[in-house]
Symmetry: C2
Subunit: 194 residues, 2 copies
């Protein structure tokens, strides 16, 4: 909750803090049901607050998302640290990439919204912190695989993560092909062992 998560501002009035929590809960519920295309209006309504309140707490969709996925991101980084002691560096990397992809598909539309948000000057900050945390974890695993002799030297972790996210996005578009994500990741990791 502390490394990458969207921290609430310095000090919040008690009622404001309650509303913020209500909003996060409502958003999580609504996103789970509708994907990130859920209406922000409806989230405010579900939380029992006015639209203005939502927009004051979370000026953009990305800010809301960042607050929501912060914990997941921290968990992902912890998993990465654990995997550093895994006996097989190749498998460690593969397992972690899979975890990244699964996280990305936690809510329908998450990947796309994140990618879009990273491009948007207004909102890049909130999500960029999450991204950086993940990249840092990934670079360690990739380095280890490289020194182990299996991964090629010229692979950029940012590119690799981008491709993994893209695969997650694609698998999200085909919800009735549950095995697609695994097949796409296999295609990708095959390249790493080349």
């Amino acid at each position: 909750m502390t490394t990458a998560g969207g921290r609430p501002p310095r000090r919040l009035r008690a009622d404001a803090r309650d509303n913020r929590d209500q909003l996060l809960a409502a958003a999580r519920a609504e996103f789970t049901e509708q994907g990130t295309h859920a209406s922000l209006n409806k989230i405010a309504q579900r939380a029992g607050v006015g639209a203005g309140t939502l927009y004051r707490h979370f000026p953009t969709l990305a800010a809301l998302l960042a607050a929501l996925i912060g914990d997941d991101v921290d968990a992902l980084c912890a998993t990465g640290r654990d995997l550093m002691t895994h006996p097989d560096p190749d498998e460690a990397l593969a397992v972690w990439l899979h975890a990244v992809a699964v996280h990305a598909t936690a809510m329908r539309g998450l990947v796309a919204t994140q990618m879009a948000a990273l491009r948007d000057r207004r909102t890049a900050g909130a999500l960029a912190a999450c991204h950086d945390a993940i990249r840092a974890a990934g670079v360690a695993l990739l380095d280890r695989a490289h020194h182990h002799g299996s991964a090629p030297a010229h692979v950029d972790i940012a590119d690799l993560l981008t491709l993994v996210n893209a695969a997650a996005w694609a698998s999200e578009q085909a919800p009735d092909d549950a095995a697609l994500l695994a097949r796409l990741l296999a295609l990708i990791t095959a390249g790493l062992r080349a």
Copy 2:
């Protein structure tokens, strides 16, 4: 223009045909400027017709897109046929995949809209024909690479194309990194030679 393109219906009244052409031209212009998030209202306005007319000719965004990209798809298939005589099967496949990706990024948002449309029962038909045509061209090239001994046997062309489209989508999200697409495709094709 004949294989996969969105053919106009059987017989069209002369004025209707004119309007249809106006709409396609306006859509192409608007999509080029704004990406596929362009407002359909504005397209109708630009074409000088009412919104109702647009929706009668193209009930959905996907139908409009299918009519627009039909020619591109045919060109892609022709390129595929040409590449069948290329001396190096590996390179032929790589070149063709690159062409597929470039086609997919011709208009911002094209890939995402297509992918989404393929999932939508109302609109799957129009674009599925395009997809099938491309897949047919790809399977020939992949087969050839496989018999040449380079591509692994278990690769599904549909998965490969999905991954290539996903890469195209990702590179579209990062418009200021012009080389990203090439790097992602390199990552993918490295896996094919594994």
